[in-house]
């Protein structure tokens, strides 16, 4: 007979074991969590074995879950920047959510040992709820539920609407300048980035420093501000 948590413990170990033992990105995850790949694959194999053994000998999951928790604490202290690498290769530094997940697994593993058997339907429902909580605290799954929610929020609230002003960014002017004949002629002589720029009617003026035969001067470009017409760009070189 099953306890309420056995199915959950089996499913969680199966998920982690399949990833560690078979996923193509598992070596990446191993490196991120600072473990040799062969060891990481072995842990995956042990998890897979435990995922099935837990239905016969429930105690096998307890040392495994305790080991994960201890490893997370150890890694957090010795190499805080490393990732958990528990169920995916997505880099995410060890934090509260990883401890919550490992803690949940340990609690469920202990519960599976000490609790009495329950009807199958109860076991399925409780384990499904536990699996839901497990998924919510897994950073790896955020892109399946958290990001779509955040995208929906952006769609409803338009947080970047202020930027749709129609202003022409300086970069657009510089990009147009770089495509012009005037810039190609003197580009190799420019010594600085844009020193300053200002708008004059339909023109945007950009000042650079230019050097030629040991002399420095201002290279002043007049670029059409509101249209894309690099052929109309004008250049003056003005002594200081």
């Amino acid at each position: 007979m099953l306890t309420a948590s056995t199915l959950f413990v089996g499913a969680a170990l199966l998920w982690a074991g399949v990833f560690k033992a078979f996923a193509r990105s598992a070596p990446v995850a191993a490196v991120q969590s600072g473990l040799p790949v062969w060891f990481y694959r072995t842990v995956g194999a042990v998890e897979l074995a435990a995922a099935f053994a837990v239905f016969i000998v429930p105690i096998v999951a307890v040392p495994l879950a305790l080991g994960f928790l201890v490893f997370l604490g150890y890694r957090k202290v010795t190499r805080p920047e490393s990732s958990c690498g528990c169920t995916s290769a997505q880099p995410s530094p060890i934090g509260v959510r990883h401890f919550a997940r490992a803690g949940l697994l340990l609690a469920a593993a202990v519960h599976a040992v000490i609790a009495g058997p329950v009807p199958l339907l109860t076991a399925v429902v409780v384990s499904a709820l536990e699996l839901l909580v497990f998924a919510l605290v897994s950073p790896d799954l955020d892109r399946w539920w958290l990001y779509p929610l955040r995208r929906l929020k952006v769609k409803l609230t338009h947080p970047l609407a202020d930027t749709a002003t129609g202003d022409i960014p300086l970069l657009a002017t510089v990009q147009q300048l770089q495509r012009s004949e005037a810039f190609r002629r003197v580009g190799g002589l420019l010594r600085s980035d844009v020193v300053e720029s200002w708008d004059e009617g339909e023109w945007r003026i950009l000042r650079y420093t230019i050097g030629h035969e040991g002399k420095l001067a201002d290279a002043v470009f007049a670029v059409p501000r509101l249209t894309d017409e690099p052929d109309r760009i004008k250049l003056a070189i003005v002594a200081r």
Partner: protein
Amino acid sequence: MTTTLDRRQVLTAAALTGATAFGSLAPEDALAAPAFDVAPGAPDPNFAEGRIKSIEGSKLFVSGSDGVFHRIQVTEGTSIWKLTPVDFSKVALGDGLYARGVRMPDGLLAAESVWVNIVNLEVHISSISHNVLHMEHFGSKIVGHVRPGITASVYNGTPAVSDMSLLKVGKHVKVIGAWRPDTNEIDIATVYAAV
């Protein structure tokens, strides 16, 4: 301020008429520009990097991340980037910088270009709130402030525009910005995104 405005009027008039102080510049003059003459692997003497420890007049005293101390001279002709082209008064103690110029015999770097607090990050957008992009860079969280009127977006390599509303949560983008020293926050200059 009046002198700046007068100077700008003079330069505007010159640009629109196309005067040149160097006589006629032929294309081959530009190609004859001095070649990059640093030996492979050797430190480039005309480059400096570090945090500003003190400012005296128009000189910056900078300690490099490799422990080298640099003295940097800024002039009227030096371009200074700090989110956008700015004048020298905007440069502050504690700012990080990259500078390029000409190394004088006494070790002073006569700067031609200075980029203050500039960062170049490959990130993914984890959330968007009012004029703020929350980003993750290999798991580290970075807060990017959008500055309407300054921040630009480049979508699929097309010309830069000010409209950022095509950015999406979960997408990877490249961000050029100005770091706010000793925080995980930046002001965003440009976002490069695929849509």
